[in-house]
């Protein structure tokens, strides 16, 4: 039932049960006392009031007897009144008893007493009437007889009844007293039982609480002790870690300082690069006019090359014409040679003059041979010239094509150059952004430096607090041992 409750709950529950049982014991004791007191009060009341009333009845009976005897002696009104008053009071007392006493036998007895009293009162009244009628006591005899015959038996009967009543009331009182004593005994027994129960419950609660205290609190304190040890070890690690962290933080601070210097250098370099990029941009703008001049020069070169090609082609035609003339010269030389040969043949058959003519013919033939050889040389030279012209034309055409290609490439280079100029402008903007970013970065690194310095300080504080935590954990471990000893489990 108590499982899962806190120790305070258990303590409250046990003390509550004990308090409840104590309250029950107190209430029961009070109730028992009240009951016993009431019983005793009832017994005392019956002993005092009922018995007194019964005794009063008897004394009133005796007083009444005395009164009417006195009346019989002296028939005065006072005695008569006293007798009546006593009788009235007797009846009142009797009625009172009849009202207060509930015992059936006593009620019957009281009723019987009332009847006997009525008879007695009637007899007394008759006797008093007789006396009243005989103021001189002449009829004393009658009265004595009446007394002896009518009144005395009834009186004795009444006195006996009253004695019986007294005895009876005394017995009732004794019975009430015994009953009250029995109830008191019952109350004492109940109170003793409740006290024993309370004691047992308190002992059980104390035992249970002590056991739970030893078990749970001991276990918890044991856990606390082990946790304290772990906490101490962790704090030790934290101390060493804090030291390492502090040293690392100082290294980081140094590194960040170097980084800061480097960032400033980068910012300066970026500024220089930005300046260079601006210069490059202006130089690129200046390069545009140079490009236009170069394009004009290329166009002039192209037209010059075309003219060279035309001139070379004309030179080729001229050399061809020279070749035709040389062919003519060769033909003439050949014909001269043939003529010389034929002249020699003719001369051989013409005697002496023919021989001399043959010499001339030979000279002519030699000249023709030389002319032919010279024409052949000229032809070879013309062939060389034509080959050179062809080669030159081809080279010039190749040059023209190269100029065209160069012009196209120059156009491409121009567009590339303009693109480069554009890119340089873009680069300039990017460099400015880099410069700005680097300055911002420098500022950020300075802030990081400040933050790292703060972190280093916090690390040192953390180390100090870890030392304090370690001491506190050690103290907590000691306190846990003391608490375990206090609980009674002993040290682990």
């Amino acid at each position: 039932m108590m499982a899962g409750r806190t120790f305070g709950g258990k303590l409250a529950f046990g003390v509550g049960i004990t308090v409840l049982l104590t309250l029950l014991t107190i209430v029961t004791s009070v109730l028992g006392l009240v009951f016993v007191v009431n019983s005793k009060d009832a017994a005392i009341a019956s002993a005092t009031e009922d018995l007194t009333r019964a005794e009063n009845l008897k004394s009133l009976m005796e007083a009444r007897i005395a009164d009417y005897r006195a009346y019989l002696l002296v028939p005065s009104d006072e005695n008569a009144q006293l007798t009546a008053a006593n009788h009235t009071e007797f009846r009142q007392q009797l009625d009172e008893l009849k009202r207060t006493l509930t015992d059936a036998e006593i009620q019957q007895l009281l009723t019987q007493i009332a009847g006997i009293d009525d008879t007695h009162a009637a007899a007394v009244a008759k006797m008093m009437a007789v006396r009243k009628a005989d103021p001189d006591a002449s009829s004393i005899k009658i009265i004595t007889d009446m007394n002896a015959t009518e009144v005395a038996p009834v009186r004795k009967q009444l006195q006996n009844a009253l004695g019986t009543l007294i005895i009876r009331v005394q017995a009732l009182v004794t019975a009430d007293r015994d009953a009250a004593s029995a109830r008191a005994t019952q109350a004492i027994v109940i109170i003793i039982i409740l006290g024993v129960l309370t004691t047992i419950s308190a002992s059980a609660v104390a035992w249970r609480l002590s056991r739970d205290l030893k078990r749970q609190v001991g276990a918890a304190v044991g856990h606390i002790q082990s946790s304290s040890a772990e906490l101490e070890a962790a704090a030790a690690q934290q101390v060493s870690g804090g030291r390492d962290q502090a040293s690392a933080m100082s290294e980081i601070t140094t590194t960040i300082s170097e980084l800061l210097i480097t960032s400033r250098q980068i910012a300066e370099a970026a500024q220089r690069v930005s300046k260079i990029a601006e210069d490059t941009e202006s130089a690129a703008r200046n390069g545009d006019s140079t490009i236009d001049q170069t394009r004009a020069s290329i166009t002039a070169i192209r037209s010059q090359v075309d003219q060279i090609v035309q001139h070379m082609l004309a030179l080729g035609e001229k050399s061809q014409q020279i070749g035709l003339v040389v062919d003519l010269v060769s033909e003439l030389a050949e014909q001269t040679n043939i003529l010389a040969i034929n002249a020699t043949i003719e001369a051989s058959g013409a005697g002496e003059w023919g021989r001399r003519f043959a010499v001339v013919a030979e000279e002519i033939r030699k000249l023709a041979d030389r002319t032919a050889a010279s024409a052949k040389e000229i032809r070879a030279l013309i062939e060389d010239v034509r080959g050179a012209v062809n080669t030159t034309v081809m080279a010039t055409e190749i040059g023209a094509k190269a100029v065209d290609a160069g012009s196209r490439q120059f156009d491409a280079a121009t567009s590339s150059f303009r693109e480069i100029a554009q890119l340089v402008s873009t680069t300039n903007e990017a460099t400015r952004e880099i410069e700005l970013s680097t300055k911002q970065q420098t500022t950020a690194v300075e802030q990081v430096n400040v933050a790292v310095s703060d972190t280093a300080r916090v690390s040192r504080e953390t180390e100090a607090s870890a030392v304090q935590t370690k001491q506190t954990a050690a103290h907590l471990s000691t306190l846990s041992g003391d608490l375990l000893e206090l609980v009674g489990t002993g040290r682990h």
Binding site: A340, T344, E352, R356, V359, E362
Partner: protein
């Protein structure tokens, strides 16, 4: 180059002027006039004394004939002359058409066609080796050879060639010569 040519011109002029300054001379008998020709791609030499003229590019009218070497006839100073291919007569395969015609001396008139006229030679007699080759067939047309700096050239005997032509044409030489 220019100096070479001008030097050659001066040399030529000097030689020409000297030829007029020298006394008149005649050809001695220790030399022989030859005509270096090419026929069928081979070099030959002809005695100029056996020729009566050299003509290039003469039109030759072809004749229907079974003689392979007969190219046709050509006209020379109002005379119709048969033209025979020298290369074919010498036993070489007929290649391209010959350009030159050699009008032989003697009768009947005969023209021999050959491909190349190399040059006119005057060589000492000592350079001419006269050797009788075997007379069998067309080889008999050659009579000796001349030693030249660019190689030896066989000398063609025009009379032997004429005899060969007559033989091919079924000509009776003796009555013809008598007539």
């Amino acid at each position: 180059m220019r100096t070479d040519v001008s030097g050659r011109v001066d040399q030529l002029r000097d030689d020409f002027d000297r030829s007029f300054a020298q006394p008149a001379r005649t050809l001695d008998g220790d030399s022989i006039e030859l005509l270096a020709v090419g026929a069928g791609g081979r070099p030959y030499a002809l005695r100029l004394s056996q020729a009566s003229g050299v003509h290039p590019d003469r039109p030759v009218t072809a004749l229907p004939t079974t003689v392979r070497a007969l190219l046709g006839v050509a006209g020379f100073a109002g005379t119709v002359v048969p033209v025979y291919d020298l290369a074919a007569l010498l036993g070489h395969s007929i290649g391209q058409r010959p350009r030159w015609l050699l009008l032989t001396a003697g009768t009947p008139p005969l023209a021999l066609a050959f491909h190349e006229l190399d040059r006119h030679l005057r060589v000492p007699l000592g350079d001419v080796v006269t050797a009788s080759t075997d007379d069998d067939g067309q080889r008999g047309c050659l009579q000796g050879l001349v030693r030249l700096p660019d190689g030896d050239r066989p000398i063609i005997d025009v009379s032997a060639v004429r005899a060969l032509v007559h033989q091919l044409a079924g000509h009776q030489p003796v009555p013809e010569e008598i007539r």
